[in-house]
């Protein structure tokens, strides 16, 4: 067992973990952070994407011990002061989710995408989200949502996407 200290959504946890414990299982099974789901076992689907020290990671591909002394943000930690993150709002407004299982990971990956490219083209969004699979939406509305969030986050006037 290894003792780790990890901050998740603003709360600091000290945990004794097996070295093999995956970060996503720490989040879900130990800390009750079930907002981050698991969709596969080969790191293809991206449903479990979270921010680790500000960069998106697939939490099924990170060991809990690797998250020692890091700051993790999950989809549950995105709102502030009762206000949704612009990406959460954009996903809602553009109907970018149906069953919603991929949505937490998709939102986290999209936020990371905008950090690198605040005004991405449709093509850049499609390439940038290649590591996150959605089976419901056909991606069109996800692309629109990311465009809308980009505009909203840059303070531009939001132009109707439909």
């Amino acid at each position: 067992m290894t003792r780790i200290t990890v901050t998740v959504d603003g709360v600091t946890y000290e945990e004794e973990v097996e070295p093999r414990l995956l970060l996503v299982h720490l989040l879900r099974d130990r800390l009750g952070k079930t907002g981050t789901p698991i969709g596969c076992d080969t790191s293809n689907c991206g449903a479990c994407t979270v921010m680790l020290d500000g960069k998106s990671v697939k939490s099924c591909s990170v060991l809990a011990v690797q998250a020692d002394e890091t700051d993790v943000v999950t989809v549950e930690g995105l709102s502030s002061g009762g206000e949704w993150h612009p990406m959460q709002r954009a996903f809602h407004e553009e109907h970018a989710l149906q069953c919603g299982y991929c949505t937490p990971g998709m939102i986290m990956a999209a936020i990371d995408l905008l950090k690198d490219d605040p005004d991405p083209s449709e093509e850049a969004i499609r390439e940038g989200l290649e590591g996150n699979l959605c089976r419901c939406t056909g991606y069109c509305n996800i692309v629109r949502a990311v465009r809308r969030a980009a505009q909203s986050m840059s303070g531009q006037e939001v132009v109707s996407g439909r």
Partner: protein
């Protein structure tokens, strides 16, 4: 943070949105693009997926699965696993043999169908790779997985049975003692021999509907618990109601002692329309151990053991006159059942039987389907379930007919389709299509697509010998959905009816609770049903909540599949609202001291006709609750139930056009433009409808270009992971151009048709027709699905005709 769960917060979020789509005063909720009520919990991570459930003392289950496609089990020894850390119990199929029963098949399509015994955990023999052979129950999921290796199993290998045609030959290896033929089902109408006799044109083709893995994003998960008397099962299922009945029958747990809950469910696409081995086994384990037990599949486990879709061999021949008018259609289908018949396995190809004629008129039709056992995972419902296969075959053959006669594929369709003035029209497959306008949808699609311009570009590329050729694919489809009139299901030997149930509860404060028997898993029922009820009862959209998916709360239902929720379940909601209003009217009349005949309901109030005297529905709700002054003999409740059984299917249709660029040097394909014009009748929420079309297109295109479940020569599944089974990402798909025409259904009061499966049904042939169309100059008349770069390249090199 908790205020995010508050409905008021959600309403505020929606209100703050500049894309509100709240209907203008006096307008209806039905038809407006309301943002979804479901989203609040989904975008903030406050969902209840089955795997989220953790209970005190919960134990975790892991399964040892067969590494062989076909083998006799000669020994299972679980004893060593019991001494592993955290292990509470371990069981073999033999240990559970007396209580596990047989997984059900509810659709015996013929009198003499072979329905083999299907033990949830294999006892003597395994018949597909991945079949459960033993299990471990431990204190956490890691320890359960660790202990699997300690279970010793000896197998005596038997020959795999993989190819359907080979499987039907005499003397070969058999999956079951009764042989490899499950059933032969036939349908015939008209004089098929006359239609083919001396026909100037006969087009014969064989198409392979490859096996697909449905791949809902949420893996299956099951939690079972008991208090010693009754049982509660949470499952990632589409069908909590059907599941409860079936599990009661399989396990012997009395139906009234079993509660089934489908909490938030992350997609299904038919794959969660099943009674699974794990659901049965978890109940048995909870009963044996007296502790809550949980099992969550890994994706690799799921690819092996979630039922697969499609897998049919289609031999189709079409006879036409010299002008391209269809005379007759023959279909000889082999349908791979896999190793067992699961819930509706045999019925899937039979649903397709009624759709091979598509939107076309013809004199004769002859259909034969042979269900074949193989040593593979059983097949069952996958988005469209029989209709995509049928639509693919007829739409591919229509393009072949056009090519044969050097006609434009649109023109050959025009010559054969049912004209809009001919509805209602009874087809050769004996379905009565209530409404449709194929001309309107096609004209709109052609215009959006720029058909003539793209044909000109295609001709130019052909003339220039451009290595990148342009192909144009057409699909003018219809489908039968809104499953289903109970009498029709009965005539097809299905084990249940096709009605749907709803309850509407008027609460004392004037708010409304709607209970639906249709159990959603991403379709947005909470939003759409709220819109229907808001209009029907003249209450605010925000004042309606929709509950579902728990047999203790929503006690009656037939669940969600077959594009049935709105067309059947939505109508049940509407009818329950009508009953509420009728009850309220009598109470209003009493309170207003008027005759009920003089009461009219408008804009939320019951008024005495011709006066301003009235009571709002909310006032009536409170007065009914108080019950101080009710008419003699009237009970103190407005709450109402309705069970609606449709009198016909609904028949959405549409025209899809696809332009594909095909690189003849590399075999790479790229969808340049995809136009979908769908007619799903009246629309409750156009945003949700468009979303359903988008997702359907993605899955249909994926069958055409990307996805295939591959077994090797020994029956091992090679595509067990998302790295091997190619689900399209955002980078693999284009933006879609979607539009609608609106021909209301005449078979229900909302005029609605289904939309859940339309995109998937229509798009696969549109894409393959486009790929083939691009390669016609190279002598190519077919490319097998999925049309991978390698297959396309080989077709260009070899010219498949």
């Amino acid at each position: 943070m908790t205020e995010e769960l508050d409905a008021g917060f959600v309403a505020r979020q929606i209100a703050e949105s500049d894309m509100l789509s709240e209907p203008a005063p006096g307008k209806h909720e039905v038809g407006s693009a309301r943002r979804r009520k479901e989203d609040a919990r989904l975008v903030t991570g406050r969902t209840t997926w089955t795997d989220n459930i953790q209970l005190p003392g919960m134990l975790y289950v892991a399964f040892v699965r067969s590494p062989m496609a076909h083998a006799r089990i000669t020994r299972v020894d679980t004893s060593a696993a019991l001494s592993r850390p955290g292990v509470v119990a371990a069981f073999s199929g033999r240990d559970l043999a007396d209580e596990q029963g047989s997984l059900p098949c509810a659709w015996p399509v013929t009198e003499d169908i072979v329905i083999p015994d299907h033990p949830p955990m294999a006892v003597d023999e395994v018949r597909y790779a991945g079949e459960a052979v033993a299990c471990v129950v431990a204190t956490d999921r890691y320890k359960a997985a660790d202990a699997l290796e300690a279970i010793e199993i000896d197998y005596d290998p038997l020959p795999a049975v993989l190819d359907m045609t080979e499987a039907l030959k005499e003397g070969g290896p058999q999956v079951h003692e009764a042989g490899n033929k499950a059933f032969v089902w036939k349908f015939a109408a008209g004089d098929i021999d006359a239609a083919f006799r001396d026909a100037p044109v006969v087009v014969e083709r064989t198409f392979v509907q490859q096996r697909l893995i449905p791949s809902a994003m949420e893996p299956r998960a099951v939690v079972a618990q008991t208090d010693g008397d009754s049982f509660t099962l949470h499952s990632a299922t589409q069908i909590p109601h059907i599941l409860r009945i079936m599990l009661a029958q399989v396990t012997g747990i009395p139906e009234h002692k079993l509660r089934v809950i489908a909490p938030d469910v992350g997609g299904g696409f038919g794959s969660k329309l099943q009674v699974t081995a794990e659901e049965v086994l978890l109940l048995l384990l909870a009963r044996r151990l007296g502790k809550p037990v949980k099992w969550t599949e890994s994706r690799s486990e799921g690819n092996l053991t979630v039922h697969h879709g499609r897998d049919q061999l289609q031999r189709i021949s079409l006879a036409a006159d010299a002008e391209g008018h269809i005379k007759g259609l023959r279909v000889d289908l082999l349908a791979d059942m896999g190793a067992y018949l699961m819930l509706v396995t045999p019925g899937i190809p039979i649903l397709g039987a009624f759709m091979y004629n598509g939107i076309y008129k013809m004199d004769a039709y002859d259909f034969t389907c042979t269900g074949v056992f193989t040593t593979k995972m059983p097949t069952d419902a996958y988005r469209g379930a029989g209709r995509p296969e049928a639509t693919f075959a007829i739409e591919r053959v229509m393009d072949e007919l056009a090519n044969e006669l050097s006609l434009d594929p649109i023109e050959v369709r025009r010559r054969n389709w049912i004209a809009h003035e001919e509805f209602p029209y009874t087809t050769i497959a004996n379905l009565t299509y209530d409404s449709g306008n194929y001309e309107a949808a096609t004209d709109k699609a052609l215009s959006l697509f720029g058909y003539d311009k793209l044909r000109a570009e295609q001709a130019d590329r052909r003339d220039r010998g451009d290595p990148v050729q342009l192909g144009i694919g057409v699909s003018t489809f219809t489908e039968m959905c809104g499953l289903a009139p109970s009498r029709v299901l009965g005539s097809l030997s299905y084990g249940a009816g096709g009605w749907e149930h709803a309850s509407v509860r008027m609460l004392p404060t004037g708010k409304v609770e709607v209970v639906t028997g249709s159990s959603p898993h991403g379709q947005g029922h909470e939003t759409a049903w709220s819109q229907i009820v808001a209009d029907a009862l003249s209450v605010p959209f925000e004042d309606v909540s929709v509950v579902h998916g728990d047999t203790a709360i929503s006690h009656k239902g037939m669940d969600t599949y077959g594009s049935r929720s709105l067309v059947v379940g939505g109508i049940a909601v509407l009818q329950a609202c009508d009953k509420v209003k009728e009850k309220a009217k009598h109470i209003a009349a009493h309170l207003l001291e008027a005759s009920a005949d003089d009461i009219e309901f408008a804009e939320g109030s019951f008024k005495v006709r011709g006066t301003d005297s009235g009571k709002t529905i909310q006032e009536i709700a409170l007065a009914t609750f108080a019950a101080h002054d009710l008419p003699e003999g009237v009970e103190a409740s407005l709450d109402s139930d309705a069970t609606y059984d449709p009198n016909n299917f609904s028949f959405p249709h549409g025209t899809h056009l696809c332009a594909v660029e095909v690189d003849t040097q590399t075999g790479a394909t790229k969808i340049r433009l995809y136009v979908a014009v769908d007619d799903v009748g009246k629309v409750v929420n156009p945003m949700i409808v468009e979303g359903q079309v988008h997702g359907g297109l993605a899955q249909g295109i994926a069958q055409a270009l990307f996805e295939e479940a591959v077994y090797d020569a020994e029956g091992n599944l090679l595509t067990t992971t998302m790295a091997d089974y190619l689900l399209p990402s955002a980078a693999d798909l284009p933006d879609f151009v979607t539009d609608r025409t609106e021909t209301p259904a005449t078979s229900n009061p909302l005029g609605v048709k289904g939309v859940g499966e339309a995109g998937t049904i229509a798009s696969t042939p549109a894409v393959v027709n486009a790929v083939v169309d691009a390669l016609r100059p190279y002598g190519v008349n077919d490319v097998a699905m999925p049309c991978t770069p390698e297959r396309v390249w080989r077709a260009v090199q070899g010219g498949v005709s």
